[in-house]
Amino acid sequence: MSAWTRKDLLGIEGLEPAEIREILDTAQTMKEISTREIKKVPVLRGKTVVNLFFEASTRTRVSFEIAEKRLSADSVNVSTSGSSVSKGETLLDTARNLEAMRPDIIVVRHGSPGTPHLLARRLACSVINAGDGAHEHPTQALLDAFTIRERLGRVAGLTVGIFGDIAHSRVARSNIHALSKLGARVLVGGPPTMMPPGIEALGAQIVPRLEEMLPQLDVLIVLRIQLERQGGQLFPSAREYATLFGLGRERLRLGRPELLVMHPGPINRGLEIAPEVADGVSSLILDQVTNGVAVRMAVLYLLSGAHRGATAADAVRGAA
């Protein structure tokens, strides 16, 4: 039986460790569905999910969409570039119009932090944060924790490094919350221009240099460098970033042989991570993508209320 009672998933910051574990356990059950010949269960049959994306996204949107379809939800994609204000309709008007069509869950990605929180306060339906600016990306952190737990059997007691543009990364923030709540030691590092003040307060320890961080790690999460965003103010050139801060084969050798490497994608090959590393035996990058579907299925399932009175295993057993 499930304990999950929240209407929304807005971030990891406010979650209890037990809630995170419940999502991961549920995802474990969901993962099996994707291995079946008929990859579909009727758990969310008759439920409507709107994927409301104000920022470009392929991976996350497709992952949510596949998760929704595997649970038999009816899903609709609404993609709109730029802010709704520029189109003359406010965000709340857009959301209210969608809600008037009675969706059960809205999955929202938006460039402005706090936007899912605003929607969750105003809308009766469930809201899932699929990334709000540099604030949170809870399903990414959950799939990262799931992937680590799947491979190493636990999260507690591990040392996980996050390296790159911490300042602008919602993945970093959600992962610091999730991994530290699950008992891992989290180290963060990157060039000084990408280290925001007060990041330690979230539960991470600063180890600025990759060379210094690597020997301590069980897992390294390399962050994507947003070349298009930085305009030459955060680092001088892609060449210099790759040379000084990129994870190449040489630098990887500073880590223990069993070190695992993760990346939230999409990767810039040859910039923050060398192709040989991304495709190498240490890399969990594609496992992360696979697990993303299972984790999002779990979140959709728990938020839909379909779990009340049933275990996830019961729900998926009577399947298709």
Binding site: E13, S83, V85, T90, L91, L92, H110, G111, S112, P113, G114, T115, H117, L118, D132, G133, A134, H135, E136, A167, R170, R173, P196, P197, G198, I199, A201, L202
Partner: protein, 438 residues
Amino acid sequence: MSAGGRLLIRGGRVIDPATGRDAVVDLLVVDRAVAMVGAGAADACGNAEVIDAAGLWVLPGLIDLHTHLREPGYEYKETVLTGCRAAAAGGFTAVSCMPNTDPPNDSAAVTRAILRKADEADLVRVYPIGCITAGQLGQRMAEFGDLVAAGCRAVSDDGRPVMNAGVMRRALEYSRHFDIPVISHCEDLQLAGDGVAHEGAVATRLGLKPIPAAAEEAMVAREVVLVCQTGARVHIAHVSTRGSVALLAAAKAEGLTITAEATPHHLTLTDEAISGFDTSTKVNPPLRSEADRAALCRALAEGIIDAVATDHAPHGLADKDLEFDAAANGLVGLETALPLILGLVAAGACPLHRAIDALTWSPARILGVPGGRLAVGDPADIAIVDPNEEWTVDPEHFFTKGRNSPFRGWRLTGRVRATVVGGRIVFRDGAIVAAAQR
């Protein structure tokens, strides 16, 4: 007021930092001016209207150096009339209104239009502030002479800093011809970038784009240097950081002609207030850290911050009911300023007389206007306050059109019971007194 133009305020504690008076005495107003304070006032009152102020404080009317009345152009946010009502309800007998209207107040025509509206409102005194540069574009100087002749008492490009130091230098020099203060909104736009929150642990946690303290301090430092160069009178608007306070302290120690204000919200709130993404906490400069807030309080107590000014910035729901990044900056302040500052006094952060001075005599001197003091012959601009009344802030009951207050639901102590402008009661017991009823 009764026939003969006499008003007796009886038995209140008159607190008047400018004259040093703090005593329970009667105060008699005759013909719009303070006629007598102390023994004998009651005997000389004749057939005066009487306000019983027993148990109440009688203060010089508050003067706000920094108000946005929004008219012309943004009447849906505020009008001169609604802003004057809010001022009267807050104990303010004069407000000086910022020029970032539409069109901006960069011409005598706009100044005169604002003053005509103020005459029609007939509530509190309105002192318009003209632009430093035409259209607030930061390039060509506005016509200070025309603006001053029409009634402007200062110039400012508030809301937009004058980024070009050469333009600012010449504007400061030119301002000396008129002996007016130049009010500087200190914000280096390159350092501020597209930030929306104070750069620190809270913005980091929330993922909000940061505005470093240096964005303000770099320009405060520039203004200090330009005051040295030009000898102009510069007033720094809404100081928000510890570093700015240090720069001001050094400049004042040198005897430079620089003054400064802080807002009630920067003196009472920190960036923790933005944690729920409540857009009524979004303001420029942003709410800063506790160390900054504490430094501002000390600076107010020591007089390094000369004045408290509200930066009353009413907005409509359409400006604020948005995602945090898209919401307008600003919050309403006229109706909560006095009790918030009295709260600091009660907490021991600032002596009472200094706090009252910062709301009355200091702004009067900075602006060079009458009022702010209750000496015989001064205009009878008076705020009568119950220092013990507790009330809960409910923006739905404000006189301003703005509902954007981060103090919604706060319990405050101290409430304005009556406001007197030029001897006439304009606000009493929760209601505006219209001209016809006086």
